[in-house]
Amino acid sequence: MSAPALIGLFLFVAMPLFGGVYWSFTNKRLISPLPTEYIGFQNYQNLLGLLVVRVAPEIDEATGQIQMNLEGNPVYPRTRTVIRGDPAYKGYRYWFTADILGQRYVVIARDPTFLRSLINTFLFVLVIVPGQGGLALIMALLVNQRLRGRYVFRTIYFSPVVTSMAVLAIVWTFLYNPDQGLINRFLSAITFGRLQPDWLVSADSALLAIIILSAWQAAGFQMIIFLAGLQGIPQSLYEAAQIDGGNTWQQFRHVTIPQLRNTTIFVIISTTILAFRLFTQVDVMTKGGPQDATVTVVFHAVDTGFRQQKIGYGSAVTVLFFIIVVSIALMQRKLLRSDIELE
């Protein structure tokens, strides 16, 4: 009975995954006439290579003093000169600079985009899981009341879920247009033109724009799950709480929240996994830019492995990604001590 599903999973999920693991140790390229070679952990080293370099200020040769610029700050050599000057730094690229206690440190990495994609992805997950989950819970509580029109509201909140993300991302690109988009027209009207974010155009707001769209698109789904959870709570518990004189907040605190525990765990785990997969909206709207502000791990895997044709390298991204997500999922299950553990 298990055979068809096992064959399917093996052929179409496990085999590509194993293929990816195997390729991640090679320099396989998409369409190259060059032979594929085994290169060990080179791809992984290239992904994770990170060094912090202390840079000394330039010394004025005539005076032996530290050179100062017009504002009275020390002059530092160009990072590129430093990197190119030392063979140990070969293959490294500038990532960012940090001045700590009067010392200048330059962080260099072999693939700053990958490291940035890790940060962005975690940031996205950390914001979207509580944010979207909280929004979904509020909506579920609202439409769970015996209010007139609750079915209409449920449908409205759920409607973005049934629309394809590729389509929505195109429509939202239009809405986010800083000059002519609907969103900024609206913000302009309520803030008298003071709040006009550049949304996808600026590195400061692009990820936020993606987060808002993502929460908007998916919150209705979590709402339905919470709603299902709420409807599973026996009415008698609320009645008992009322008899004990509990007000609405106390009922929520002492009945709803504990009763929704399993639902919440499910929502957290599933949202986390889905959030880690962030790809389509980034691909359609920003292609990871500007300045890597919206690059995500899956996007980087597709971008390097497919568009830049470095299958081996892209596979290594996938493998690392898989390891990270599996370990987080395991950790979450352990922390939340979920009932949906293995038997």
């Binding site: 009975m1 998409l30 996938t318």
Partner: protein, 301 residues
Amino acid sequence: MAAVELSSLHKPERKQRSRRRSLTLIIDYSIMIALAAFFLFPIVFMVVSSFKPEKVIFDDLKTIVWAFIPREITFENFSSVFRRVPFGQFMFNSTFIVLATVSAGLVVNSMIAFALARLRWKGKTLVLSLVIALSIVPLDAIVVPLLVLVNEFPWIDGSIGWLDSLHVQIVPFIADAFSIFLFYQFFIGIPRDFDEAAYIDGGSPFAIYRRIIVPLSRPVFATVAILQALFLWSSYLWPLLATRGEASRPLTVGITSFYGQDVKWAQILAFASMITIPVLILFLLFQKWFVQSVAASGLKG
């Protein structure tokens, strides 16, 4: 005197309570309406604008209100969509892919979940852990190896390579780890007494699956079907890479023809509306049933 005092004390309190109730009602409705506006405005804008000439869309954007009012109705955008692309073919492809994958998937995934949840066999725990681990693999991340792989597979007609077909968008997605996981969770919750009674009657495991488990599990079947259908309906990267011709491309890839060099926003919005509205209507019709299914399926945890 005392009684009068008491009742006069009660009245304002009761009034206060009902006033408070209507206040919370007003607050609730305001929040709900504000949220509804937030969730609906892109879709309303999309649908309303799809009936406007392109130039009018931009003019109307200058005032927020007009952006949502179809003051000049044209069907030109829709007829352009039908002229430019075989919309019917795309719609057929998408629908066929979803129906075929979901119906096959329900059978295949529920059977393995049954075996995992109700039968004793060697390596069961291992398989279960693997299934859960595989449910985490995002499709987008394995597209390249999958592409190379399916290109080597033979098909029933003797040809090699599955690309540019409907089945390349169906067969790989029938077995789905996440669906198995959902089925599994539901099945372990069904009391075992039923099976044991059936075993005593001499039933095979398969008979138990078919006669006991399936009839008891309608909600989870509905939930899995809906989730898989939504996922397939919106898949994008895989069909983009694995198909080329109009004969096999689904709606989501079809719309990118309009988002090419020559962006015609009015046509994009018309196309997007035509993809969205049928599904919305389906949801509207079945939404009560859907919520109940999800509630009963144990998706809530």
